[in-house]
């Protein structure tokens, strides 16, 4: 992989230092999000449905007294099947003092990525807003899609925040 095939090195916000990412799976894709945004990881429990909400917003749950909305990333990213079983996990994120949970198929591990392992996002059409993709992480034969989860979640189409 080199610059000649249209990939550019990601150099902003990661000058030389290792960034740690929590990686999780959605269907067969592997994603990474900034570990510092993650508050905790929990098992899935059926949330309280909210009427007239988009289908990927599963509802709200009680997280030790806080009402937290739950977004199913598999539905958001149009994954083929979204089963809820013993391995389904919820990643609780803390973004801008707001707490939100995302449902994923499984959590893999925490990866430290050095800038050399990061590639720019390819210019392709996808369901994910290209602004919300920081880049791609290359780990041998694995490819991580690094998400700017903050941007993704605060997007208007997520319907998590009132339209100002």
């Amino acid at each position: 992989m080199n610059d000649s095939i249209g990939m550019e090195r990601v150099s902003d916000e990661s000058n030389g230092k290792i960034c740690e990412y929590l990686t999780f799976r959605l269907d067969r894709e592997e994603y990474g999000i900034d570990i510092l945004k993650v508050q905790e990881i929990r098992g899935y429990e059926p949330p309280t449905r909210i009427a007239n909400a988009p289908s990927f917003i599963k509802g709200v749950v009680n997280l030790r007294g806080t009402i937290v909305p739950i977004v199913d990333m598999r539905l958001k990213f149009n994954c083929a099947n979204a089963q809820y079983d013993a391995f389904t996990v919820v990643i609780i994120l803390n973004l801008h003092q707001r707490i939100v949970g995302i449902v994923v198929d499984s959590v893999s591990d925490v990866m430290g990525l050095v800038p050399d392992q990061m590639r720019g996002a390819p210019d392709i059409e996808s369901i994910i807003d290209s602004d919300a993709i920081i880049g791609l992480g290359s780990l041998g034969d694995r490819m991580l899609i690094l998400l700017d989860i903050e941007k993704l979640m605060s997007g208007l189409d997520m319907g998590l925040m009132a339209e100002a």
Partner: protein
């Protein structure tokens, strides 16, 4: 004067203001601290309006509270401070250092007065006449020369006031009071006699300390040095100075001018030992003396007791020490009665207890299958856990919630005093005192409400003569009411006074250079009175009229995410409604089941419920449903449809009707079942999510699940369209 308020407070049977003293003292202390901080950080050249307004608001709040509780001395002083600050923020005067000084001293004096009230030592606080007159002269625009600092009437200077003389060098300060003293200082048992020579240099190096002359006598021991000293400093100051060179145990100070015996005493070695011992005691106790009353000027210590002999001095030091400590002890006691804890800590506690309750419920569930004969101890333990958890939950909940009556009962006394001061007749009516409100909200709503009630009394209610002329009863009425309404708490202050004059407000706004036009709606015009410094009052009294009240009201309420609405009708009175979000409030709820889901209805809006047959519902036109309830047709709302509840059991239909009332109209909700009534803690959905239509909030049920609370106001409005 100050003592009378205790009596009147106690004698009136219906309420006792003293229960709020502690809150006031805490609030006032915070306000004074805040003011001091802001004064200290105030940049005189570039002081902006926001800072000056902030300082002004602090003084205003303290004044308001002090007046409410009848601490007239504090109210008077802060009123003067407020006058000065008002001129500053209106840019009629430019702030200068003298003003800041006098304001800081006034804040200190207020603190002193408050401390005296708090400990019950009325009358022992610092005198304020001097400060008041100084502020007055500053307000009237005089430059603050020495003449102002030293008033001609030379009042009895109380301890805290003595720093009023701006003397930079503390050692010089006692000149006026202490006078020149003639001392003999003995240094004994010196390791190196040259140490004493350093003392001589000390006197040479420090200007104003005095003169020192060595005394040469034959019988002085080789390790001792005696000096004759003329100084204005106190013994303490001298000992502190000498401590750099000679430790205190080796120093003895005696007065030469009055004590002839000292000359003889030094000749006897035995007497010398006594002197040394006593002065050690002085040195040791001197610390307590100094810590206790650092500002205590020399004049308070009787000259003679200092002068006579070291033994007498030791005695007087002890006395002073106990005097200085007495107020400290009595202060400590009331403070221990309450503690102020960050709201976030209480919230955390509530959440943790909630979790505990759920865990406990789970344990109880799992233990049911156990054989009581085998697991008797475990089961007993679980029963105890059950009871303790409930008690714990109850007490934790009660930390936060207090009824509005706590706030309301502050007002009758204040209004009575105010009305008699203004020569008006006012009846005070309260409604909905039992409405429970979160403590955090209560604390923050008290100040704004005080302002509103004062405003109503001062500006709203007319004088008895005017009322009679206007064809109204002589006695005006101020009503304070609280209620839960459509997912909010609404607190209203109503009066049947003269209302607001649209024309007067517009004129005043133009004078102040605000952008207004005659086409503005009434609501917009009323909003003008929330501008800082806006007032239509013709005369500024110590009650109101400076225009600070509404500005504070608006700011405080906005900080709680609340709104203020004004309705006014000239000649008939006005109503100020403060609407606060339900966040944090506890509510009596009725849980209803629809499909597999549970929703909470505010019990206050539930009128009745009954079972109906499907043919009781009649439709109109496009399918709008109506049901006849006791000769009245009411619109029917199917919660199942509103909330798109999925049906797994197609046979079951909603056949229970709940009549709810909101905004004075009624609708019928169709639900599957009634599950019960319970108190619910209202949680905000918007803190992590967004506003959901027809839902005012959420709560956590006993099993840990989230249930949505219906916004009955929105449902009723929905049925109208």
């Amino acid at each position: 004067m100050a003592e009378t308020h205790y009596e009147s407070g106690g004698s009136s049977a219906d309420f006792d203001l003293s229960q709020f003293y502690q809150i006031f003292f805490e609030e006032a202390g915070e306000n004074l601290d805040l003011m001091e901080q802001m004064l200290l950080s105030l940049n005189l050249e570039t002081a902006d309006d926001e800072e000056l307004n902030g300082i002004f608001r602090c003084a205003h709040s303290v004044k308001g509270g002090a007046a409410t509780f009848g601490f007239s001395d504090v109210a008077e002083l802060t009123h003067q401070m407020e006058s000065l600050l008002d001129k500053l923020r209106r840019h009629e005067l430019m702030p200068n250092a003298a003003m800041v000084d006098v304001l800081l001293e006034s804040a200190d004096a207020s603190r002193g007065l408050l401390a005296c009230h708090q400990s019950g030592n009325v009358g022992q606080g610092p005198a304020t006449a001097n400060l008041v007159s100084r502020i007055r002269s500053l307000v009237s625009g005089e430059t603050p020369p020495v003449a102002v600092v030293r008033p001609p009437e030379a009042p009895k200077m109380a301890p805290t006031e003595s720093p009023a003389v701006p003397q930079p060098v503390p050692a010089v300060a006692p000149v006026a009071s202490g006078g020149l003293r003639h001392l003999e200082i003995q240094f004994t048992k010196l390791d190196q006699p040259t140490q004493a020579d350093a003392i001589v240099e000390l006197f040479r190096d420090i200007p104003g300390l005095g003169e020192i002359k060595p005394i040469t006598q034959e019988n002085i021991a080789a390790d001792a040095r005696f000096f004759e000293v003329q100084t204005t400093s106190t013994n303490e100051d001298l000992l502190d100075l000498f401590a750099f060179h000679v430790s205190r145990e080796h120093v003895a100070i005696a007065d030469m001018s009055t004590s002839g015996a000292s000359a003889g005493a030094q000749e006897s070695a035995g007497a010398q030992a006594v002197t040394t011992e006593v002065s050690t005691a002085v040195a040791a106790q001197g610390f307590g003396f100094f810590d206790g009353a650092p500002g205590l000027p020399q004049s308070l210590v009787p000259e003679s007791s200092v002068a006579t002999s070291p033994i007498a001095e030791a005695g007087s030091t002890k006395v002073l020490q106990s005097v200085a400590k007495a107020p400290l002890v009595s202060n400590a006691q009331p403070e221990a009665a309450t503690i102020r804890v960050a709201i976030s800590k209480v919230d955390q506690l509530i959440n943790l207890v909630g979790e505990l309750v759920i865990t406990q419920a789970m344990l109880a569930q799992n233990s049911r299958a156990l054989d009581p004969a085998v697991y008797q101890q475990l089961l007993t333990g679980l029963t105890d856990l059950d009871r303790n958890t409930r008690d714990l939950q109850e007490s934790v909940m009660s930390i936060r919630m207090i009824p509005m009556s706590i706030v309301f009962s502050r007002f009758p006394r204040m209004l009575r005093d105010l009305a008699s001061k203004l020569g008006k007749k006012v009846d005070f009516v309260t409604q909905g005192e039992a409405t429970e409100l979160d403590k955090g909200l209560v604390e923050k709503i008290t100040d704004p409400l005080t302002h509103l009630v004062r405003n109503s009394c001062d500006h709203g209610i007319e004088s008895p003569q005017d009322r009679v002329l206007a064809g109204k009863p002589e006695t005006g009425t101020i009503t304070l009411s609280a209620s839960h309404q459509g997912g909010s708490i609404v607190i209203e202050v109503r009066d049947d006074g003269r209302g607001m004059s649209r024309q007067k407000i517009l004129t005043k706004a133009r004078e102040r250079g605000l952008d207004v036009s005659d086409q503005m709606s009434d609501a917009e015009v009323w909003q003008l009175i929330f501008a800082p410094g806006f007032s239509t009052a013709d005369v500024v009294t110590d009650v109101s009229g400076r225009g600070v009240g509404m500005d504070v009201v608006k700011r405080n309420i906005a900080s709680l995410n609340g709104t203020v609405e004004i309705e006014s009708s000239e000649g008939y009175g006005m109503k100020v409604s403060v609407r606060l979000p339900l966040t944090l409030a506890i509510m009596d709820g009725m849980s209803v089941g629809v499909g597999n889901e549970v929703y909470i209805l505010p019990l206050s809006s539930v009128v009745e419920s009954f079972q109906v047959k499907s043919d009781a519902v009649s439709t109109v036109g496009q399918g709008a449903q109506l049901v006849k309830v006791r000769d009245e047709y009411m619109p029917v709302i199917e919660l199942e449809k509103v909330f798109q509840v999925p049906r797994y059991d197609s046979d079951k239909t909603s056949d229970i009707m709940v009549v709810i009332e909101a905004d004075s109209s009624r609708v019928v909700l169709l639900v599957d079942e009634l599950l019960g009534q319970q108190q619910v803690v209202v949680k905000n959905l918007e803190s992590n999510y967004r506003k959901v239509p027809n839902v005012s909030g959420a709560t956590i049920l006993g099993d840990g699940k989230v249930a949505l609370i219906l916004d009955t106001g929105a449902l009723v409005r929905r049925s109208r369209h």
